[in-house]
């Protein structure tokens, strides 16, 4: 990687810049077979080709000049840009609750990185206050960056560190916790923290954004305000996910950490509670309960921190004609637990039976969930289901596949006794299994239906 004077440039482009002694941030006049171009040389994104030089012209636009057309570069000046979120001291107030914000790498407030075109998060309280001054009206915020990883790179080590760090803050008497997190695996982390931090006395709120905060229409600021209010003021002492309710800038939902899932690749309102309703509706100055039952805030500073995880687990999404070697290879590679997302009520095809049988006999714990996401596993309706149970596959009721995956890792982190693992898995924690599914726990309205359209027109989407 090239830093210094030629950030991001390589190959042809790099040698041309070196030949003419022109640097990144140099103000240049470039002569080419396509005419003369003037502007400031910008760093190049490392994944782009080596045939172009990026220029910011005086009107603020960027353009690329093909190096093969360039006949002359003349550096006339030099002005390096430096990014800075306007940092202002966060105004602390005794009358406001104290909230700790843990950073994991997601962007809440941010600035742009030229080289990659990526976004650099703003994180210190001062930076946050500079970007979202409304936060000071809600609570006192302190921050700690635990790691800087993309959401998809969050894993067991991070879950454990996070749980321990949160445990310490609880001991210190903090009023609420916010975790800034990328959205892709937000629900995996939410499940992991639910299992690893049990009976917390305060709200633990995971939050992210679907539109990065480098854009004016970002949902980040509002999500952060919602999460701050929830963490600082709400009575809900659970691990929850706080993200946009509708795609409009109106309110957020507080989803139980064990029942939430990302359901759209890019929508703001991507997180939904599955098989139940959200705990609450949140604005920047209110929490309106939707669920009558939840764990209440306590004054003590106690929580059970259980940072255990065995990584030798897998989630297998079944498809027709799946070959047994998929299961066999897991067993051969030393996996200790498998969660299957089966079809319909929880089924896989017959050719897998021997492999499953063998796996169970070798001490691999196997659990069944449904890829329909909504509904219960029901393995007594058809013979296939009964066969599978006989071979040791354990149905997990209406536990979500990703949640079951996390729970299995957590359970195996505590014991290798299959019976005990089974007990842990089937003992409901924070509604990861619910006794009943309310009728409004499954609502996917179908567009085009007149009454649905009427409803949609009436309320902000």
């Amino acid at each position: 990687m090239n830093t210094g004077n030629f950030q991001g440039y390589k190959g042809h482009a790099l040698s041309l810049l070196q030949k003419f002694n022109a640097r990144v941030w140099g103000q240049v006049k470039i002569e080419s077979t396509r005419g003369v171009f003037s502007g400031t040389i910008l760093p190049r994104s490392e994944n782009d080709d080596d045939l172009h030089i990026v220029l910011k012209i005086s009107t603020g636009y960027n353009i690329g000049i093909n190096v093969l057309t360039i006949t002359q570069i003349e550096e006339l000046g030099y002005k390096k840009a430096h990014y800075q979120i306007p940092e202002k001291e966060f105004p602390y107030s005794d009358s406001k609750p104290n909230v700790k914000l843990f950073g994991t790498g997601g962007t809440i407030a941010s600035r742009l990185d030229y080289r990659t075109g990526a976004v650099i998060p703003a994180f210190s309280p001062g930076e946050l206050y500079g970007a979202v001054p409304e936060l000071a009206d809600i609570c006192n915020i302190t921050t700690e960056k635990l790691f800087a990883v993309f959401s998809e790179n969050m894993g067991p080590e991070e879950y454990k560190k996070l749980a321990i760090a949160i445990g310490k803050e609880i001991e210190n008497g903090i009023d609420g916790i916010i975790i800034g997190h990328g959205t892709d695996t937000l629900h995996h982390t939410a499940a992991a923290l639910t299992y690893m931090i049990q009976n917390p006395p305060i709200p633990i709120v995971l939050v992210g954004s679907q539109r990065s905060s480098d854009r004016p229409s970002s949902d980040a600021a509002l999500n952060l305000m919602h999460a701050s209010y929830t963490a600082g003021h709400s009575d809900i002492a659970e691990v929850s996910v706080c993200m946009f309710g509708p795609t409009s800038d109106e309110y957020g939902f507080l989803h139980r950490g064990t029942r939430v899932r990302k359901m759209h690749s890019s929508y703001r309102s991507t997180f939904r509670t599955i098989g139940d309703i959200p705990i609450a509706k949140v604005t920047r100055n209110s929490v309106e309960l939707l669920q009558p039952h939840y764990k209440h805030r306590r004054q003590d500073k106690k929580a059970d921190i259980l940072p255990y995880f065995d990584e030798r687990i897998s989630l297998v999404y079944y498809y027709p004609n799946m070959k047994p070697d998929i299961i066999e290879s897991l067993v051969d590679n030393g996996y200790k637990g498998i969660v299957i997302a089966g079809t319909g009520l929880g089924h896989v095809n017959k050719p897998l039976y021997p492999a499953i049988d063998k796996a169970a006999k070798q001490g691999v714990s196997i659990f069944m969930t449904v890829q329909t996401l909504w509904g219960y596993v029901h393995m007594n309706v058809y013979e296939t289901g009964r066969d599978l149970q006989a071979k040791g596959v354990v149905p997990t009721q209406n536990m979500l596949p990703e949640v079951a995956y996390i729970k299995l890792g957590w359970a195996l982190g505590q014991t290798s006794d299959m019976e005990e693992v089974r007990n842990i898995m089937l003992t409901p924690i924070n509604d990861d299994i619910t006794e009943r599914e309310p009728y409004n726990g499954y609502l996917i309205y179908q567009g085009g239906v007149p009454e649905v359209e009427e409803f949609i027109k009436k309320f902000h989407k």
């Binding site: 012209i57 690329g64 004016p216 229409s217 509002l222 795609t247």
Partner: protein, 649 residues
């Protein structure tokens, strides 16, 4: 000074300077970054859902906040988008990242860039240009430069062009009242190009000529949209020592001269105000210490003011009196037709503090006769001095602090002269404050889109098939002896290629063909509603039909109305409607003698012209299509009663 009276030396005296940003929608099937149809529009009430958003300013690449961005944030608008499924998908409302750029659009833009003699970039970088007014739900417009430094040749001078960009069109505003602004998203995302000129224009008419030229150039490709709103101009104007002010969204080129004239003299007036203020506050420290004083006022105490009556009825409204030191005579200082400096304050109250008009009264109001007590009270309370001016403003309680800030800010700017701003235009040639002028700081790279290389072979492909330059077309029209009053019509409708075809293929007299469009068709279009099925190519086919049937072309002038009105009718039927019947020329000429005799019997006029007119009237229906009318008239004039009418023409 009115525009009629102004001469070039007046514009030179005030230092008139102007540049153009010409926007032109491209004729593509789909939008620029998604697969929604382009060019389908809805009425305000036709929508399927509403979405509400707010816009927050973000840092630019260079680490700075943009001025406009901060102002827009201050206004705290609730932005509501009305979306219709037919024309809007999740991309427009910023719930899905962009799809790859529309190649059809990119190619059209490239062709126009070449026509405008731009240096074509090696790689197109999609850039985000921040717009916090809500006109784009993302908060930025995706836009990219295709070329820099081009030129166009006007009649008397060359105008240099700065750049050409391709971009997505914005939403259309439905309303903007108080803190709620509503848009519809049908137009959002339609491919658009923007041609930006250097500030090379030195008088209002030149700006108009430039705008026309660029519009004709764009249309000469035949690949751009026409019709209301498809082409729009922003005009940048300044006077010497003034500032760049952008007049936004001028949809009629004919308004440009009046608007630019008024703007340059508005700036001149603001400079006079500056000089007056500098005289009053001659010492630097007096100017830097300058500030307004204000006092909140309970509207209930002034029930006699009808403007405050509503305030009294509505408990949420509150008022404030403001003293502006040294501004006596300034508030009533003329700025543009029918407006004074006080309008500059009132306009900003509406836009920045979101207080609907009427939102203030001032001590120099021409029409303020109701009660001057209020300003005596304000003067007393705020210990005003003789040279001061007073304001009374009112609005929602939470908007008053911003309102007071806004007043002070604008008055402070008066010491510096002309604020950089963008202004909205009105049909009467005046403008109104729209927002602070954004700078280059609002641009940042679009991290969702990779750069697109433009190869030499891509360029060559277009270079070989470019339409003729507009200035060459002007010359061509002159050479054809086509009357000058038709030129704009012909170029505006990109008729040159068709004319060329008519003249070449059908051997039609150029002047006849030119006026057939520039006079006859133009007149018909002015009289009738647009005819959806009508296409100009139809005229070519008709002329060719006349040629083939050996009919005289003159009949096309009468037929044009029918062709326009009933584009679905075949040419035989059109001739039937015109009561055309094939008659031998000689038969027509032979009738002249009889008619002359008849004329003598019924009329006693000795006037030869009257006689000829009368006869032409009788013969015209017969002659139309069968023989040239001019030739017929000649025959009429030449025919003597003695000769037996065997004149050949």
């Amino acid at each position: 000074m009115t525009r009629k009276d102004a001469t070039q030396s007046d514009y030179d005296r005030v230092g008139f300077k102007a540049g153009l940003e010409v926007h032109q929608q491209l004729k593509t099937k789909k939008k620029l970054f998604c697969n929604c149809p382009a060019g389908v529009y809805h009425k305000n009430e036709e929508y399927d859902a509403e979405i509400i958003r707010h816009m927050r300013p973000t840092l630019s690449e260079l680490g700075e906040y943009d001025g406009t961005a901060l102002m827009e944030f201050k206004t705290r608008k609730n932005i509501i988008y009305r979306i219709k499924n037919e024309t809007t998908c999740t991309y427009e409302i910023d719930d899905t990242p962009p799809f790859p750029i529309n190649r059809e659009a990119l190619n059209i833009a490239l062709e126009i860039s070449l026509l405008s003699k731009f240096n074509i970039v090696g790689e197109v970088h999609i850039t985000r240009k921040q717009y916090l007014d809500g006109s784009i739900p993302t908060g930025f417009q995706r836009t990219a430069i295709l070329g820099v430094e081009g030129e166009i040749q006007l009649k008397n001078k060359k105008i240099r062009l700065i750049q050409l960009s391709i971009e997505e069109d914005a939403c259309r505003e439905i309303s903007d009242i108080g803190h709620i602004r509503t848009y519809k998203t049908d137009r959002l995302g339609i491919p658009l190009i923007e041609t930006v000129t250097h500030p090379d224009f030195s008088n209002p008419d030149e700006v108009k000529e430039g705008a026309e030229y660029i519009r004709y150039l764009n249309r000469s490709t035949g690949k751009v949209r026409v019709g209301s709103g498809a082409g729009r101009e922003d005009v940048n104007v300044s006077c010497r020592n003034g500032s760049r002010v952008e007049i936004k969204g001028v949809s009629h080129i004919k308004l440009i001269p009046e608007l630019t004239h008024n703007e340059v003299f508005r700036q001149f007036a603001l400079l006079e105000i500056r000089d007056k203020l500098h005289k009053r506050f001659s010492r630097e420290e007096n100017r830097s210490d300058w500030g307004i004083r204000f006092q909140h006022i309970n509207p209930v105490e002034f029930p006699f003011l009808k403007q405050l009556k509503q305030a009294v009825e509505n408990q949420t409204v509150c008022a404030a009196g403001i003293n502006i030191p040294g501004f006596r005579g300034i508030l009533s200082h003329f700025t543009q037709p029918g407006q004074t400096f006080a309008n500059e304050l009132s306009d900003r109250l509406k836009v920045i503090a979101c207080i609907e008009k009427p939102n203030m009264l001032h001590s120099e109001q021409f029409d303020f006769i109701e009660n001057e007590d209020i300003f005596q009270i304000i003067s007393r309370v705020l210990s005003s001095e003789n040279d001061d001016a007073q304001l009374l403003i009112w609005g929602l309680k939470e908007d008053i602090p911003t309102a007071i800030e806004t007043i002070e800010e604008r008055c402070r700017m008066a010491f510096d002269g002309v604020p950089n701003e963008s202004r909205k235009s009105f049909m009467d040639g005046t403008t109104i404050f729209e927002r602070v002028l954004p700078g280059a700081d609002r641009m940042y790279p679009d991290t969702d889109s990779p750069p697109i290389p433009i190869e030499d072979k891509d360029i060559q492909k277009f270079k070989d098939e470019l339409p003729k330059d507009i200035h060459k077309r002007y010359t061509q029209l002159k050479k054809w002896d086509i009357p000058e009053d038709t030129h704009n019509y012909i170029l505006r409708n990109n008729l040159c290629p068709l004319l060329e075809k008519i003249i070449k293929d059908l051997d039609v007299n150029p002047k006849f063909a030119g006026t057939l469009f520039g006079h006859t068709l133009k007149h018909i279009e002015g009289q009738l509603k647009p005819s959806p099925g009508f296409e100009v190519e139809k005229v070519y086919h008709f002329l060719s039909y006349l040629n083939k049937n050996e009919l005289d072309l003159e009949i096309s002038k009468s037929a044009m109305l029918m062709i326009y009105k009933y584009p679905e009718k075949d040419f035989d039927s059109i001739l039937k409607i015109l009561k055309y019947r094939k008659i031998n020329r000689q038969n027509i000429v032979d009738k002249i003698s009889d008619l002359k005799r008849e004329f003598k019997q019924v009329h006693h006029s000795k006037n030869a012209t009257a006689q000829a007119d009368w006869i032409m009237g009788k013969l015209r229906p017969l002659a139309l299509g069968n023989m040239n009318l001019k030739a017929l008239r000649e025959a009429v004039e030449k025919t003597n009663l003695s000769s037996q009418g065997n004149i050949r023409t």
